[in-house]
Each structure stands twice: as structure tokens, then as C-alpha cells.
Amino acid sequence: MSRWILRGLRSGIRTTRFPSPTPPYEEGASSTVRLQWQRLSAPDALAAAQMCPSGAIQAQGTEVEGELTYDAGRCIMCGRCARHLPQVFLPVKDGRVAVRQRSSLVTRVGWSAANRPLPLELGRAAEEVRQRAVRIFRHSLHIRHVDAGSCNGCESELQMLTGPYADLHRLGIFFTPTPRHADVLLVTGVVTVNMERPLMETYAAMPEPKLVIAAGVCAVSGGSFAGGPVTRGPVDRLLPVDVHIPGCPPTPQAMLHGLLLAMNRAEDRPGPEPEEVADGA
């Protein structure tokens, strides 16, 4: 046993400093795709919508004027658009991608003589969620995870969260075996017919107040399995979702960001502001 302790000590500290302000985005993979909307042209937009296999990119319009939407909640990170249209679609390694509102995952860009980001109407009152969470969960959060029909990629990343790299416990976040002790229900995967009842029972078994996190595009939007014959669809069709984490699967940083967002210790992913162009590519 002492040899194990020695080996552990010799490894040194490997834990990521996320969410400290200077993150070394060490996971080596991209967490989302950022739209460089200034460079969007009509043919690119139409081609991108054509090639996107998950329907995350949709375009409507003519050569002169039109509108492109990119929904990070449906993007399975296949990388096609980034490979073929690198000037517009930029893979981003920044893991801060989670949002409180489903609609915040959608970027709308109009193309015409001058490109412009379009505003989005807001859905559920985000401020209310924030207020609830800030009072109760700021210091410690207990998670009950439910796999509602995932490919086990999200579970794999969740298991990595408890490992030494992400080390969830340093942030006061823990997985709990029983919903009785849980503050937040973290759902991965598209909700299948057979998992609907267990999911709803788990939610019912949790004490108030409780939050719901949809992790991964399958939980956010159905992802690759949207509209399948034995699926019920995304989580927000059944439960009120407070935090959405995109990704297929979300990177550990994205998961951490989503959890911190639920605790109100982080901010939503930055919206499509004009000044942010290339970051950490």
C-alpha cells in the first residue's frame, strides 16, 4: 500500500485549474463550433446546411439575402463543416459552452450586404432559476445521474470527472447514489420509451428544490436519435431543464461548466458578440 502512496505522490498534481480564468484547454478536443459570422457568404451557408448530418445548421434564403441558424444543441461535433468551410465554422476548445436556456444555444445570422447576428426571443425565465440556485446550491451540489438512453460516451466523461484531472470534489460537487440526497438531476442520452418511467420516478423521488441538467446533445435535442421509433425525445419534453450542456459527448470541461452554472458559480457561454472571433483554436 505504501508503494501506491509513493506512486501517487510521484505523479504530482494533475488536476485542471478550470474554472480559473486562464484555462489551459488541455483536453485536445473541441467543445463547440463557433460561427465566424462576419465571413459568412450565401453559397457557404447553403452548402453547410446541405452537409450537416444532424440538422444543426439550417439555412433559408437566396443568394442575396437569407438567414442561417446554428444550433449547438443539435451539433454532434462531426467536424464536417469545419473541415470543408474552415473560414466560417471554427472548432473551439473553450469548454464554457453550457447555457441556462435552450434558446441560448442557437445562433442566428442573417446574410445580406452586411452580416449581422439576429436576436433571439428568450424562453423560460432564466433569472428565476438563477435566484433559486444561488440561494441553495452555491457551495455544494449533489448529482443524481440518469442515463436515459445514451451511447455511454457521456457516462465515460462523467466517470472521468471524478478522476484526478477534473476532480469534481474540489468544487464541492458529488454524485449521490440515491435521489433522496440529490439537488440536481443530470440526464444523459435521448429519453427512450423504456427509460421514461425510471427517469420520471427519479425526478419524483428527489426533494425540492431540484434542478435538471441535460448533458449532451441527445439529452438537449435528441441528437442522432431524434425522431427514432422508440424514443420520447429530448429531456425538456418531459422535465423542466435548467442547464443545457451541448457536446457529443460534452468534454469534461463542458460538464464542469454546466455544473458550475447550475450552482450559479459560472456564467452562460458567451453569445455571438462581434469582437470574439478566434479563440484558442
Partner: protein, 696 residues
């Protein structure tokens, strides 16, 4: 006064017994008989009170036999046991009124009512007996009455065999006791216990033999391993009220007999008597508790627990012998007090527990712990009363079991005043084993209470259980309340036991050694007196707040203080939850993973609970596991799996069974001469006649 009350009690039992027979004609006699029994019990309590208060008297009954007359006397030693008998019998009478319809038809009901009262009368006669003949006759009456009571439900499987085993072992015990009395000359005409006590004088060798005979004789009734077999068979077989009488009173009489004969009639004891008795008691206690942990039947578990408690009492009698033979009369007397006190407490608690088993049996028609559960919500009062008994028997403060167990262990720790290191080591070992025993006993009662009363019902019968008739609950209430009162006012029980023990050992100031009068001498007992303040000194003046193992400097406990602090802790916690808790509590089914609904079969069973002990004490239990499956085509398609885990009772398997087999073979040999032919038998008669003539 002392004997008049006794006579009144006996007469009342006789009336109750006759009224019980009346059930054959009219059902209403059952209630009348119960009322008479209740009054008889109260008269018994009164008798005990008078005896404890110093009432004395001797009466020679106007009947004579070649072996002498029948004499009864009021003795302080018997008084505590009479008290126990009185309380238990009054409670049981009430219980019986509600319970007997469960036993069967009018004949059986009449039989139970009548014989139960006869049993109590016989017990009181045993306790009042002033010479050996009276003692033996009353004892035998008690044995036969209980034998018939155990066989009342003779048509249920295993019942006649159980009763027969009890009768056979009781006969063995009777022979040993009678032999002991005969050997010491107690069966001569005109020799009373009082004269024997004044001239105890068989030689040392003879005294030892007589001691062994008494140890075996009373050991049978007291469930001394390996003579305990009848207890665990008869208790589950008997109706619950009979079990309660057996465990509450009859076995306590065996302790009385042991103390009476060994400590008063045999003169100064040898040291080895004490060590032997102590060792046998400790082994019995451990054996009893180990099996009480694993057996699945509720009443069998209680029976094993009885063995455990009797083991503790016998061990304490042994300890008293050790101390007395080492010239430590105060400690010896204190150990004897523990033995008598435990007999009293255990009798009250165990009769309550067996009545609780009766309630369950009436409500669910089954006593398999793995098929019960959830009774707490269905039978609130029975559950509460059984809970009191279980807490007491498990040794949870502030109830009774804790006091005697604590005192007993403290007495064993006092062994350091003994001369030789071997004896100190021996007593320390005994203390260790008894501590283990008490800890396991707590676990055993957790299992029983949890398995039967908590959780969700595991069978249809348990689900449909309803509360039992009020008379049964009232009967339980009598004994349970007596237990609680004696626990919280230790002066009652300890006072009675001290009076009884002082009569045997003649140690002055025993009461003040065990129950120091802290409020009368506040300067000597500064700490507890201050703790008690002026409040307790008003309601509990003098003795009775603090118990010590004969020396205040050594250690002390105070049951009323413990109760007050427990109530304070519970109250504070409840208050904190009430004040700090937020919102309405939500009620949901137990969490089972979201896939299926909760089923009662998902609960940990009482058998599952014992797994740790089955494996830890695997050598004792010879735990055997068999899994058999039925399948289609190949074992991969099993459609039913049966699982069995069995413990082997070593004494029954390796001692009784060979004896029974040998006896069978022997009788088979003798069977040869039993031809069944009348001519043959006539020939035998002629042959015997001829032989007699020749000898003459």
C-alpha cells in the same frame, strides 16, 4: 397474615381452575376464570409483599405420608419469586381470556384455563414448600400440568414429540433432585428445610455429589446446556400463554431451587462448585444467544433467549458461590442479588415477549420471521408493549435488562480481589464472554423486532393482521408496566432481591451497598446528589436513585437519570427538527432504482440479517448452503431455484439423537420378549411367581 394470604391466593387459583372447567358448559366462564386468576395473582403479590415485609409463619398441613407431612412456610428467599409469579399470573390470566379461543374448542380452552391456574398454584406451593416432600410433590404437579399444557395442541405436527422431550428431561431432573434430597437426608420424616439449614452437614464428598445432583436436576428446568433441549422444543409448541408461564415463572423456580438447595441447605460451598456453575452458566448464555440470533421462528428465538438469560442467572449463582467460598460475603450476596433480580426482571419481560408472540400468532397465524413484517402499523399497542420487552431483554438502558447485565459485569470485574491469578483470569474470561453474549442479544432483538414489526409485510397474512382483543393487550400491559416501574424505581426490584438474598447470606447493609442512600448522606455522595438536585430527593427519597456494584467509588448508574437524559435528547432532537426543518416532508415509496415498484420481498429478511453471524460463528452453526434448480433442457434455462441454508444444533444432533437411537435399539431388543401372545405373558407371570417363591 403471611400464610393466610397464601392460602387465599391458592384458594383463588383453585376457584379459577374450577371456573376454567366451566368453559365446557358455558363460554362466559372463561372471563370469570380469568378474573379469579387475576385476583389470585394480586393476592400472590400481596403475599410476597407481606413476606418481604417480614411476615413469617409455618404450617403443617393435616395430611401425612410414610415420608412425613406437608409443610409450607413463608420465607424471604421465596418472596421475590412469589412476587414474580403473582404479577405474571395476573397478567397472563387477562391475556388468556382473549387468547384461548385461538387454541381450539371448548375442551382445549377449559384445559388451558384450568391447568394454567393449577400450574401457578403449584409454583407457589414449590416456593412455599418448607420440606423436601412438599417441594417434590408440588414440583411434580407443576411438571405434569405444564406437560399437558404443551400437548394441548397435540394434533399439530411436532407437538407431542416436543412435549415428550420436555417430560423425559423433566423426569431426569426430578430423579436428580429427589436423589439429591434423599442423599442429604431431607426425605426423612420431620426434617424440614429450616432444620437442614441449621445443621447442614453431609460430609464434603457427599455434599459435592449432592451439589452435582441439584445442578443437574435444576439445570434441566433452567435450560443448562446440554440439558436445554426441551426448552427450545416446548416453547414453540406450546400455546403462547403457556410459553409465557414456562419462560416467565417455571424456569425462574428452577433458579429458586438451585439457590435454595445449594446456598442454604448444603453448608459452606467448595470453590469449584462456583467455578463449575459459573462456567456452565456462561456457556449456556453464549449458546442460547448464538442460536437466538439465527433461528427463523419467533417463539423459538425467544426460547433460545430464555436459555441465554438463564445462563446468566446460573453464572451469577456461580459467582456468588465463588465469592462466598473466597470469604467475600458482601460480593457473594451482591452476585446473588443479581441472579434473583434477573430472574424477576427476565420473568416480567419474557412473559410479555411471549404474550407478544401470542398476539402475532393470533393476528397472522404464523411465527416465521421471514414472513412477517409491517406489524407496527397494524398492531400499535401490541408493538409498543413488545418493544418494551425487547428493549429490556436486549439490555437497552434504562430498562431492566441493562441494570442486571451491568451489575453482573461489574461483579465480575470485582474479581480482582480474588487471591489467585487463575481465578481472576477465569472470571475475566467469563466477563468477556458474557459481554459478547449481551452484545449479541441486542442484535438478536434488533433482528426480531425489525423483522416482525418494521418494514412492509412480507406475506398476505402479515398484511391482513389486525390488532388483538383488548384483554390480551391488557395482560401484556400488566407485565410490561411492572417491568417499566421496577426499572425506573430500582428500589422495588433490588429491595425485594436484597431481602431474599440477605436471608440466604445474612450480610448486613446489603441494600445500602447496592442502592446507596445518596440524599440522606449528601456529603458522601456529592456528585449524584447535586446532579439529582432537590427535585428527585422529594419524589425518590432515600435509596433508589443510584445503583452501585457494592462500592460507590467503583461505578454507578442511575436509571431515572438515564431516562431523563434520554427524554431530553429525544426532545431536543425532535425540537431541532421541528424548528430547523423546512417545508412539508414528502412521502414516497422506497427507492428501488426506478425500474420497478417496491415489493416487500425486496426487504432485508431476518435470516439475511444473520448472515454475518452465520459466517463468523460458522464453526458453531455448521452453516450449510444448498442451491437446487429445476430447468428445461439445460441448466441455463432454470425456471425455479430453491435455496436452503441450515444451521445444525450441535447438542441435539450430536448428543440427543445418538441417545434416542440407542434407546430405540435397546427397546427393539427388549421387544423380542414382547410377543403379544397372551399365553406368553401368562408364562412370564408364572415364571416370576416361581422365581419369587424360590428366592423366598
Amino acid at each position: 397474615m403471611a400464610l393466610e394470604l397464601l392460602a387465599a391466593a391458592l384458594a383463588c387459583y383453585a376457584v379459577a381452575s374450577l371456573l376454567g372447567l366451566g368453559v365446557l358448559w358455558w363460554r362466559g366462564f372463561a372471563e370469570l376464570s380469568a378474573a379469579a386468576g387475576f385476583v389470585a395473582g394480586l393476592l400472590g403479590v400481596g403475599t410476597a409483599a407481606v413476606w418481604l415485609g417480614g411476615g413469617r409463619g409455618v404450617l403443617l398441613l393435616p395430611v401425612s405420608t410414610p415420608l412425613g407431612g406437608f409443610t409450607v412456610a413463608a420465607t424471604p428467599l421465596a418472596a421475590t419469586f412469589v412476587l414474580l409469579t403473582g404479577v405474571v399470573s395476573s397478567g397472563l390470566s387477562l391475556f388468556t381470556a382473549g387468547y384461548t379461543p385461538h387454541v381450539g374448542g371448548a375442551l382445549r380452552q377449559a384445559c388451558v384455563h384450568s391447568l394454567l391456574n393449577i400450574t401457578f398454584a403449584a409454583v407457589i406451593l414449590v416456593l412455599a414448600a418448607a420440606n423436601a416432600l412438599t417441594f417434590l410433590v408440588a414440583w411434580e404437579t407443576m411438571v405434569i400440568a405444564t406437560y399437558v399444557l404443551v400437548t394441548v395442541e397435540f394434533d399439530r405436527p411436532g407437538r407431542p414429540q416436543a412435549a415428550f422431550l420436555m417430560l423425559a428431561l423433566s423426569k431426569l431432573g426430578f430423579i436428580a433432585i429427589a436423589g439429591g434430597f434423599a442423599a442429604m437426608g431431607a426425605l426423612r420424616s420431620g426434617v424440614s428445610f429450616a432444620t437442614l439449614a441449621r445443621h447442614p452437614a453431609p460430609g464434603a464428598g457427599l455434599a459435592s455429589i449432592v451439589f452435582l445432583l441439584f445442578l443437574i436436576g435444576f439445570g434441566v428446568k433452567a435450560g443448562l446446556v446440554p440439558l436445554q433441549g426441551w426448552l427450545t422444543e416446548a416453547h414453540p409448541a406450546a400455546p403462547a400463554n403457556v410459553s409465557a408461564a414456562l419462560s416467565g415463572v417455571v424456569v425462574a423456580v428452577a433458579i429458586y431451587g438451585l439457590v435454595l438447595t445449594v446456598l442454604t441447605l448444603l453448608g459452606p460451598p467448595s470453590a469449584w462448585w462456583g467455578y463449575l456453575t459459573l462456567g456452565a452458566g456462561v456457556i449456556t448464555a453464549l449458546y442460547g444467544v448464538l442460536f437466538s440470533l439465527v433461528v427463523p421462528n419467533f417463539k423459538r428465538m425467544l426460547a433460545y433467549s430464555t436459555i441465554e438469560n438463564l445462563g446468566f442467572m446460573i453464572a451469577m449463582v456461580g459467582l456468588a458461590l465463588v465469592f462466598i467460598s473466597s470469604h467475600q460475603p458482601l460480593l457473594g450476596a451482591a452476585a446473588l442479588v443479581v441472579a434473583i433480580l434477573h430472574a424477576l426482571y427476565h420473568g416480567l419481560l419474557k412473559s410479555t415477549a411471549f404474550m407478544g408472540a401470542g398476539c402475532i400468532d393470533v393476528a397472522t397465524h404464523g411465527l416465521d420471521l421471514d414472513r412477517l413484517g409491517g406489524l407496527a402499523r397494524r398492531m400499535r399497542w401490541s408493538t409498543l408493549l413488545f418493544f418494551v420487552a425487547a428493549m429490556g431483554l436486549a439490555g437497552i438502558p434504562p430498562l431492566n435488562g441493562f441494570q442486571t447485565e451491568w451489575l453482573g459485569l461489574q461483579m465480575l470485574i470485582r474479581s480482582r480481589i480474588l487471591a489467585t491469578p487463575e481465578s481472576r483470569l477465569y472470571l475475566a474470561g467469563a466477563g468477556l464472554l458474557l459481554t459478547l453474549t449481551f452484545a449479541l442479544a441486542t442484535t438478536a432483538y434488533v433482528r426480531v423486532f425489525g423483522g416482525a414489526f418494521l418494514g412492509a409485510p412480507r406475506s398476505r397474512e402479515a398484511r391482513q393482521a389486525r390488532e388483538v382483543p383488548w384483554t390480551m393487550r391488557l395482560g401484556m400491559f400488566v407485565t410490561a408496566a411492572a417491568a417499566v416501574v421496577t426499572a425506573l424505581v430500582p428500589a422495588i426490584g433490588i429491595g425485594a432481591a436484597v431481602t431474599s438474598a440477605s436471608a440466604v447470606t445474612r450480610v448486613p447493609q446489603l441494600l445500602n451497598a447496592l442502592l446507596p442512600p445518596i440524599f440522606l448522606k449528601p456529603q458522601q455522595f456529592a456528585l449524584p446528589a447535586r446532579l439529582g438536585g432537590t427535585f428527585l430527593s422529594q419524589i425518590l427519597p432515600g435509596n433508589g436513585v443510584v445503583i452501585t456494584p457494592t462500592s460507590f467509588n467503583y461505578a454507578f448508574i442511575s436509571p431515572p437519570y438515564i431516562l431523563l437524559s434520554l427524554l431530553a435528547v429525544i426532545g431536543l432532537t425532535a425540537g431541532a427538527i421541528h424548528l430547523l426543518g423546512r417545508g412539508e416532508p414528502m412521502r414516497r415509496d422506497p427507492w428501488v432504482g426506478g425500474g420497478s415498484s417496491f415489493r416487500p420481498s425486496m426487504q432485508y429478511t431476518a435470516t439475511g440479517f444473520t448472515n454475518l453471524f452465520r459466517s463468523t460463528f460458522g464453526r458453531v452453526f455448521r452453516d450449510r448452503r444448498t442451491v437446487a434448480q429445476e430447468y428445461h433442457q439445460s441448466p441455463y434455462y432454470a425456471h425455479s431455484v430453491s435455496y436452503e441454508r441450515r444451521v445444525v444444533e450441535p447438542v441435539e444432533t450430536y448428543l440427543y439423537r445418538p441417545v434416542v437411537l440407542a434407546a430405540r435399539q435397546l427397546s427393539a431388543r427388549f421387544g423380542v420378549i414382547q410377543g403379544g401372545n397372551v399365553g406368553l405373558y401368562l408364562l412370564y407371570v408364572v415364571a416370576v411367581f416361581v422365581i419369587l417363591l424360590l428366592i423366598h
